[in-house]
């Protein structure tokens, strides 16, 4: 290929990394504690929820889909998990078996929710935007209803049993970070080294071609939604120990954040090409913006949203396609 093509490819690769590095430098300059182990650990741990979800979203978007329901799905699964654990507490007692039951609940519920989205989109052939806008409303309503408009709280005794899932870890690295890293690495490997990743890209690029090439298009699509559902379940397993509760405002706007992370990372919204490592960087960029805004005063908090908006746009300008022609 030509020189210019190479350079633009490199910029596309470097873009998000550059944006991330710039943010880290700004953060370090603004506050000496920015690079402290504690702060880094905080930022990474809290990125884990959106991060795990965004990895799944990368596959959905790569295969040409979209999922607006993940935020409410997470809220609903969290509520369900809490209800199940609270319900079984009298009979099972506070302990790891009950935590396991909670986890299984989350994974099963996530799988089912992903399956429902996938079924409506692939088998009933309804626009993904509409299906997931619909299920978004449905899950949000259901959690409001389960919580009777208020908050669903995990029993206090149970909370101390489950807390370590968010706050402990191995060698000083907390579980959410470890799980996020694991999910990201598996995601990257599947995207690049497994047939599934290729098939997802092929389906997103041109589903007719994929169909004619013996790719089971519906199954690939369905799998991306189910996978995303499972990952939402996993994210919820990390989330519940942190706050011990779920409410109608849990996970609001997570879907937009996850989608933004995916696109900042260089995946194409119209499908056909995705990269998981880019998504991870996108997630970190978004978390760091929040973190840095908390490090400084002087900016009216009313304007936080504006600063976020500007940085998101800038991060993508860095990696935009140089050529329009051809």
């Amino acid at each position: 290929m030509t020189q210019t093509a190479k350079i633009s490819v490199d910029l596309k690769v470097l873009g998000p990394i550059l944006a991330l590095v710039a943010l880290i430098i700004v953060g370090a300059l603004l506050n000496g504690n920015f690079l402290s182990a504690g702060n880094i650990s905080n930022v990474l741990s809290r990125s884990a929820f959106i991060g795990i979800i965004a990895v799944g979203m990368t596959f959905v978007i790569t295969s040409g889909g979209l999922d607006l329901s993940v935020g409410s799905m997470a809220a609903f699964i969290a509520g369900l998990m809490i209800l199940v654990m609270n319900g079984l507490l009298p009979s099972m007692g506070a302990g790891w078996p009950l935590v396991m039951v909670g986890m299984v609940t989350a994974i099963v519920a996530g799988t089912a929710a992903g399956f429902i989205n996938g079924f409506l989109i692939t088998n009933m052939r309804i626009e993904a935007f509409i299906v997931t806008l619909g299920t978004m409303g449905i899950y949000r309503s259901l959690v409001t209803w389960l919580a009777d408009g208020g908050t669903l709280s995990l029993d206090f005794g149970m909370r101390s049993v489950i807390r370590p899932i968010y706050f402990d870890g191995i060698l000083g690295v907390s579980w959410p970070i470890l799980v996020f890293a694991l999910v990201a690495i598996c995601g990257e490997v599947v995207m690049r080294r497994a047939a599934f990743g290729r098939h997802a890209a092929a389906v997103g690029s041109n589903d007719q071609v994929a169909r004619y090439s013996s790719v089971n298009v519906n199954r690939v699509r369905m799998m991306t939604y189910v996978m995303l559902g499972v990952l939402v379940g996993i994210a919820t397993i990390m989330y519940v120990p942190r706050l011990g509760s779920a409410s109608p405002s849990t996970g609001v706007l997570w879907e937009l954040e996850a989608i933004a992370a995916v696109i900042i990372g260089g995946t194409m919204l119209k499908g056909g090409f995705g990269r998981v490592w880019g998504t991870v960087i996108g997630v970190l960029i978004l978390s760091l913006i929040d973190n840095i805004l908390n490090l400084t005063d002087g900016v009216s908090p009313y304007l936080n949203g504006a600063i976020q908006g500007v940085i998101i746009i800038l991060a993508v300008i860095l990696q935009r396609d140089k050529k329009a022609e051809g």
């Binding site: 290929m1 080294r193 497994a194 047939a195 997103g204 690029s205 994929a210 004619y212 090439s213 790719v215």
Partner: protein, 506 residues
């Protein structure tokens, strides 16, 4: 799937009919493809060739009739099913995923794995081997959207080869290839034939048909009108069987006079990365041919000229300096470019004929709102002028046969009424009868005083049509031939950069 040559297959159609709604496009088709034989299916645009091929390979089901594999009736559930039994179709239109790389496309759906993971090394090696066999130098890691059309065709062929087809069906594989590349393809066909593969192919280039086929079936309006051993036919007979009339004099006699004033002057046109320092002139009523190997940059030069790519250089139209930064400016100045890529850049496949026809000259049909009556009239005129055969006027253009799409595309550009028109590959995928019509049309245009540039990879076509031929090589104009010098030999030498030695020796 069976190993190479292990179990040779014969595929036959018996009494196949196919209708799309009320329109029956195939009537009682009988064909047998025998192992180790090359069968050519020829016919006019819209005769039903692609439809027949799709039925053979499981993309479409017949309305009635039987498909038989080795004599036993089969009914392919879908194309994958057919492929699993060794029947592979290479589509007339490209069937590749644009965002994926060459290697990813070739192995799509049949990835090689080592354990859980993809065996990328093996796939890469095999891709390279396949492409080398086809003399194709494209990078296995290039994205398909970035490679040239001819390379895409080679990738399609490599993809089919990698499937170990026992019955290989190719729908106009050579339409986008140069003769040299076609020759490479035919070598592969010969090799497969020797292995006992049954091959069906179609082409509008009758010399190719003559060159490689053993059996010929001629379709007209969905009926088999002639069938037999290839050696029994010469090209004229084939053409006559297809069209139902004599088409031996393909290139009409030049009647119009070439004017003396210059319609187009191009000086020092450079399209970065593709073409350097292109200068030429075109007189009123002249037909100028552009020849060269695929990848020589002809398309890019012209795209640069009309403002579709960034380019530098001086352009004068009718003696006036013009700056063409967009196709709209070019059109306003009386210059239009007709793309070689009808599916990707020429037509909106999901829209009807009317919308497509008038898209380029919509302002002419708009007063306050679009005058749909005038549009309809224009379509009626175009259908008549260009003999566009469509099942209905409302059909989505993607459902037209390839050749009829090409005719619609020509009609669309001509509707803009340009003074100077650049036609890139005018007759790609067009049947011989219509070709004649298009040639006549081009001549008629020049007789009206329009100036025409024809880019064609068919040497015969440039020679037969043009008054003068410019030959490009590696983004530069290598030379010009005209009059008696316009011979295939001379052009090929220029295109391959051999002329210097030759002239030096002479």
């Amino acid at each position: 799937m069976s190993g190479t040559g292990a179990s040779n297959l014969s595929l036959s159609l018996s009494a196949i009919c196919r209708s799309f709604g009320p329109v029956q496009v195939l009537h009682d088709i009988d064909i047998t493809l025998a192992p180790g034989e090359v069968h050519a299916l020829i016919g006019e645009n819209g005769a039903g060739k692609s439809t027949t091929m799709k039925i053979m390979s499981g993309y479409l089901a017949p309305t009635t009739g039987e498909v038989r594999l080795n004599g036993t009736p089969v009914s392919f559930a879908n194309s994958q099913d057919a492929e699993a039994r060794g029947v592979v179709l290479i589509h007339q239109e490209f069937n590749l995923a644009d965002q994926l790389t060459v290697e990813q496309n070739i192995f799509l759906g049949h990835e090689k794995r080592r354990g859980l993971f993809l065996d990328k090394a093996a796939m890469r090696a095999e891709t390279e081997a396949l492409l080398a066999r086809l003399n194709c130098s494209v990078d296995p890691l290039a994205r398909v959207r970035d490679i040239a059309n001819a390379d895409k065709q080679m990738v399609e062929i490599a993809k089919a080869l990698s499937r170990n087809a026992q019955v290989l069906i190719m729908d106009e594989p050579t339409a986008v290839l140069t003769e040299r590349e076609a020759e490479t393809l035919f070598e592969q066909v010969d090799r497969l034939k020797a292995q006992g593969v049954a091959i069906l192919f179609t082409s509008h280039k009758l010399d190719e048909v003559k060159r490689i086929s053993d059996q010929i079936t001629v379709l007209r309006d969905g009926h088999v009108v002639s069938q037999g051993v290839a050696s029994d036919y010469n090209e004229d007979q084939m053409a006559e069987a297809m069209v139902g009339r004599d088409v031996s004099s393909l290139y009409p006699v030049r009647e119009g006079e070439i004017g003396s004033d210059l319609a187009l002057e191009v000086a020092g046109l450079t399209v970065p990365g593709f073409a350097t320092d292109i200068s030429f002139t075109l007189r009123r009523g002249e037909i100028l041919g552009f020849s060269g190997l695929i990848g020589s940059g002809r398309t890019e030069t012209m795209e640069g000229l009309v403002g579709l790519r960034s380019a530098s250089g001086a352009v004068r139209i009718n003696g006036k300096d013009v700056s063409l930064k967009s196709p709209r400016q070019a059109q306003a100045a009386g210059l239009c470019y007709l793309t070689e890529d009808r599916k990707g850049r020429g037509l909106l496949l999901d829209k009807g004929m009317r919308e497509n026809l008038t898209l380029q000259s919509l302002p002419d049909f708009t007063r306050l709102v679009i005058d749909q009556g005038a549009e309809d009239a224009a379509l009626t005129q175009a259908i008549e002028d260009f003999d566009i055969r469509a099942p209905t006027r409302e059909v989505a253009v993607g459902n037209l046969s390839g050749g009829n799409q090409q005719k619609l595309l020509i009609a669309k550009v001509m509707l803009a009424d340009p003074e100077v028109v650049i036609i890139d590959e005018p007759t790609r995928g067009i049947d011989i009868g219509t070709k004649q019509q298009i040639y006549e049309f081009i001549h008629a245009l020049s007789a009206q005083g329009k100036s025409i540039i024809v880019i064609s990879s068919e040497m015969q076509e440039v020679i037969g049509l043009a008054d003068r031929v410019l030959v490009m090589r590696s983004g530069r104009i290598e030379g010009e031939v005209s009059g008696a010098e316009m011979t295939e030999d001379k052009i090929v030498r220029l295109a391959m950069g051999l002329s210097a030695q030759k002239e030096g020796a002479a």
